[in-house]
């Protein structure tokens, strides 16, 4: 099982622990990762500005993977949503595809739509399978309550992304429960983290984040679990800013899913970049069974 790993822009620049923990976990599960250096931005941040640039950016990445005959795996849900959307639109509209391919042709690339785009969580759930992951769990958690954060662009628009049931998804919860942790029910599970508006309207962005954090806490979660760099940075770096700006204490720390899974697989915490998170995760290791 091999995938072209699509890291996007944010992870290499600001969230190295997501990359290192994902690589560590996937290596243990026998998933091969191919790096394609020529990959560029997925186009997500440019969707507000210019539709064509967005499509072209995504299409170039898809064509690069297609050229190597590899399915793509993303770690970022916004990359996932954008690549899926561009793929969908070009398959639906041959004249758009033709127009884009005319530009890609200059680099010897072409989008035909032959490859699949998958998010890390879907790869774990559908390709590796719960049973195979379970075999690798060495130290399951005991008494750990996790609030799963699905991330908008993985779930919606469901017609395009097909990640899981958009109204009552369970894929992420099942993956979390594999580690021995309890995935709690919480009302705002499927809501946005607020990240898309950070830098545009910070007050609004932080309002939405605070709502989610309070909801998660009220529902009894010890940690949030995310599998997207934007969501995680919002719950980690931005939560830290919120705590100081709004005079709040008692944070609800966020852990990246491969960090959580990695711990229960007995992977070294430095490899998982546990201490690179801004809001400390200390204490979580004590909940691992011996």
């Amino acid at each position: 099982m091999k995938f072209a790993l699509f890291l996007g822009c944010t992870i290499p620049a600001r969230l190295n622990q997501y990359e290192s923990s994902s690589r560590a976990v996937l290596e243990k599960l026998g998933v091969g990762l191919i790096d394609i250096r020529e990959f560029n931005c997925c186009g997500y941040p440019l969707r507000n500005i210019d539709f064509k640039v967005f499509i072209l950016s995504s299409a170039r990445n898809l064509a690069l993977a297609e050229k190597k005959n590899l399915n793509m795996m993303t770690l970022c849900k916004c990359c996932y949503g954008s690549l899926k959307k561009a793929d969908y639109l070009m398959k639906e509209n041959p004249s758009l595809q033709k127009e884009v391919n005319a530009i890609l042709e200059k680099e010897g690339l072409k989008h035909e739509g032959r490859i699949e785009i998958k998010h890390l969580l879907a790869v774990l759930y559908k390709e590796v399978g719960l049973a195979s992951i379970k075999e690798k769990i060495e130290r399951p958690f005991k008494g750990l309550k996790i609030a799963t954060h699905y991330g908008c662009h993985a779930l919606r628009p469901s017609q395009v992304v097909g990640f899981d049931n958009p109204v009552s998804p369970s894929l992420f919860d099942q993956l979390v429960e594999l580690t021995g942790a309890e995935s709690i029910d919480w009302p705002m599970k499927l809501d946005c983290c607020g990240a898309p508006l950070l830098g545009v309207n910070d007050e609004l962005s932080m309002d939405l984040t605070v709502k989610k954090l309070l909801d998660g806490k009220k529902s009894g979660a010890d940690y949030l679990c995310a599998a997207c760099p934007y969501c995680h940075i919002q719950f980690d770096t931005v939560q830290k800013m919120i705590l100081s700006q709004r005079g709040m204490d008692h944070p609800l720390p966020s852990i990246l899913y491969p960090q959580l899974l990695g711990l229960s697989m007995g992977i070294d915490k430095n490899l998982l970049g546990l201490n690179m998170n801004e809001i400390s995760l200390k204490g979580i290791e004590e909940l691992l069974s011996q």
């Binding site: 822009c9 944010t10 290499p12 620049a13 600001r14 250096r37 560029n40 931005c41 997500y44 941040p45 440019l46 969707r47 507000n48 500005i49 210019d50 539709f51 064509k52 640039v53 072209l56 950016s57 170039r60 916004c78 639109l89 639906e92 509209n93 758009l96 530009i103 680099e107 908008c152 662009h153 779930l155 919606r156 628009p157 469901s158 958009p166 809501d191 946005c192 607020g194 990240a195 898309p196 508006l197 950070l198 830098g199 545009v200 309207n201 910070d202 609004l204 962005s205 309002d207 939405l208 709502k211 934007y230 940075i233 770096t237 931005v238 800013m241």
Partner: protein, 590 residues
């Protein structure tokens, strides 16, 4: 005489230019952080910084970087083997020629007491080094004009550099070739060094040199008398060989001599060798005098950039030194195009023809900004767009062969430009995420200003939004606007909206406000309705559009299949284009 006069003139110009350029490193202000630091403070801070680094353990880092990245240029090797070969050949060959050949009186003679430019190994090495440079330049031309590396731009400075190096090298090789074939040069050497006067002996020696060493003589041609040649060989051994190796060792020049042998006599009579000598010397002197203003200045600035960036740390280094380093980095850039090749958003240039999107081209614009050159509103707008159209992925900085911290340069420049108050609509996109994260860490003079200016610029174009009455005057349907919503098939779905308000009900942004219409203007279902009515002002002018999370809740829940979020995306695209053109006039007034 000519040599020393031209050398002193060139050196004087070089020295003055160098001082001017270095002075600019302390004078140019890039970014908000630099504006309040005086040139003298920066100069003193630089001295302090350099001294404290040299007398600390960091000297080891400097040594390591000097050897690995400055001398052996491993950063280029990591990027691309062909480019490394190209550069190491040009730079290695050129440096060795400079030291061994151009400065032979000062360096080579001091090191080797038996130095003559006409004996081996010097004669061979000179040609070898020259061949390396020629080979390197050939790869450079191949990469730029035949291989056509993506987004590698060739500007006037790149051409000047390639042409200058080519002229120096080719004139040198042709000079050597014509001298090898030259009869007058042969005669001069015989007169000066051989001490022979017997006509028979002179004839024997000449025959030998014509036959074996490519001299073209007006008197002696093949076929040669065996005995005469043998005598010539002996004379050569006793009179010449000690100070003159076989010209074949000077393989490039010898190749030229063989090629031009049919016209060699004419060339010699026309004194072409001395013309070539003037060309060769003049080209070197022009190169030296103009060096501080040319791309070649990178030989100094790039090394400094690599060293400085290796020991400076973000957030820890003296802001005065950061300011100086950023000004210096503008000179360190070699316009090699690596950053543009690896740029995450470089592909946008295929669609938005703004050259400032490409990092390698931004540098020239930033140079113009830093030197306070007068720029037109269009140019400023393009630079601002170019530096904002960046995902802050740090790839440019990671791959830069000369270690320039490009990312911080963009960030600093864009803050300065944004603070000037020209509206930049890109601030209303997720490209601002990084700026939001950096809010507390960097000096952002007025964080909100660019965001407010962008929204004001949009509002200024949407007159109907300012009407306080509930009823609007009858407004004709803007067909052009409605037809513009056609980038994807989804956008047309606004027309099936039946106003059930589900989108507004499920919107987390709407839910965040007690009085959403005060904060957001029109709500999602109303914006769909505005599209239906074809009223552009209402569709573009609501804060709702720009405060949309793109979480797709509305679209997912819509019972009619209206792609609300996608319609929003297209409205934003159209508004950006519409408002961008119209804000130019307000920039002209500022």
């Amino acid at each position: 005489m000519f040599l020393s006069v031209s050398l002193y003139i060139a050196l004087a110009i070089f020295g003055l230019s160098l001082i001017y350029k270095i002075f600019n490193w302390f004078r140019y202000k890039i970014g908000i952080g630099a504006t309040e630091i005086s040139t003298s403070t920066r100069f003193i801070s630089a001295l302090k910084g350099i001294l404290s680094t040299i007398f600390s353990a960091k000297i080891l880092i400097l040594l390591k970087i000097f050897v690995l990245d400055v001398l052996f240029q491993l950063r280029i090797l990591r990027e691309d083997l062909l480019r490394w070969i190209m550069h190491i050949f040009i730079y290695g060959g050129f440096m060795l020629l400079l030291l061994m050949h151009a400065l032979d009186k000062y360096i080579t003679v001091a090191l080797f007491d038996k130095y003559y430019s006409t004996i081996n190994p010097f004669m061979f090495l000179r040609d070898l080094f020259g061949a390396l440079v020629i080979f390197g330049v050939a790869i450079a031309i191949y990469r730029r004009f035949i291989l056509k590396v993506p987004r590698l731009m060739t500007n006037a400075m790149d051409l000047y550099t390639i042409v200058l190096v080519a002229v120096i090298m080719l004139s040198g090789i042709f000079l050597e070739g014509t001298k090898i074939a030259s009869y007058s040069d042969y005669k001069r050497m015989v007169d000066e060094y051989s001490g022979l006067s017997d006509a028979q002996e002179l004839r024997a020696l000449e025959s030998y040199w014509v036959k074996e060493f490519g001299v073209v003589s007006p008197h002696i041609k093949a076929p040669f008398d065996e005995k005469l040649i043998e005598q010539g060989r002996q004379l050569h051994e006793s009179s010449c060989a000690e100070c003159h190796s076989k010209p074949q060792w000077a393989f490039t020049g010898y190749g030229v001599a063989k090629t031009i042998r049919r016209i060699a006599l004419g060339i010699d009579r026309a004194h072409l060798p001395s013309v070539l000598w003037y060309i060769h010397v003049l080209a070197c002197m022009v190169g030296l005098a103009y060096l501080p203003f040319s791309k070649m200045f990178h030989t100094f600035a790039s090394a400094l950039s690599l060293l400085a960036n290796a020991v400076m740390e973000k957030g820890k280094s003296d802001p005065a030194n950061v300011a100086t380093r950023q000004a210096m980095e503008l000179d360190a850039c070699t316009h090699c195009g690596t950053c543009s090749l690896r740029c995450s958003v470089g592909v946008a240039f295929d669609e938005i023809r703004n050259i400032n999107i490409l990092p390698s081209e931004k540098i020239a614009s930033i140079r113009a900004l830093a030197s306070n050159k007068r720029l037109s509103p269009e140019q400023l707008r393009d630079i601002q767009e170019g530096v904002y159209l960046c995902t802050n992925c740090y790839r440019c900085t990671v791959v830069c062969p000369v270690g320039v911290n490009l990312q911080d340069l963009w960030f600093n420049v864009r803050e300065t430009l944004l603070q000037r108050g020209y509206p930049e609509l890109l601030v209303l996109s997720p490209l601002s995420f990084y700026r939001g994260l950096m809010r507390e860490e960097t000096v952002l003079r007025d964080y909100q200003k660019p965001l407010i200016r962008a929204r004001e610029a949009i509002a200024a174009e949407c007159e109907l939004m300012r009407t306080k009455e509930k009823a609007l005057p009858l407004t004709p349907r803007d067909r052009k606007f409605q037809d513009g919503l056609n980038l994807s098939a989804q956008a047309k779905t606004f027309s099936v909206c039946f106003g059930c308000q589900t989108c507004t009900t499920v919107c987390p942004v709407v839910a965040n406000y007690d009085h959403p219409q005060e904060a957001l203007g029109l709500l999602p279902h109303q914006i769909m309705h505005a599209c239906g009515l074809g009223i552009r002002d209402l569709a573009f002018g609501s804060n709702m559009l720009w405060d949309c999370l793109t979480c797709y809740q509305c679209q997912e829940q819509c019972p009619q299949g209206v792609c609300v979020t996608d319609v929003f995306y297209e409205l934003k695209n159209l508004a950006v284009r519409y408002v961008r053109e119209r804000t130019l006039s307000s920039m002209e007034r500022t």
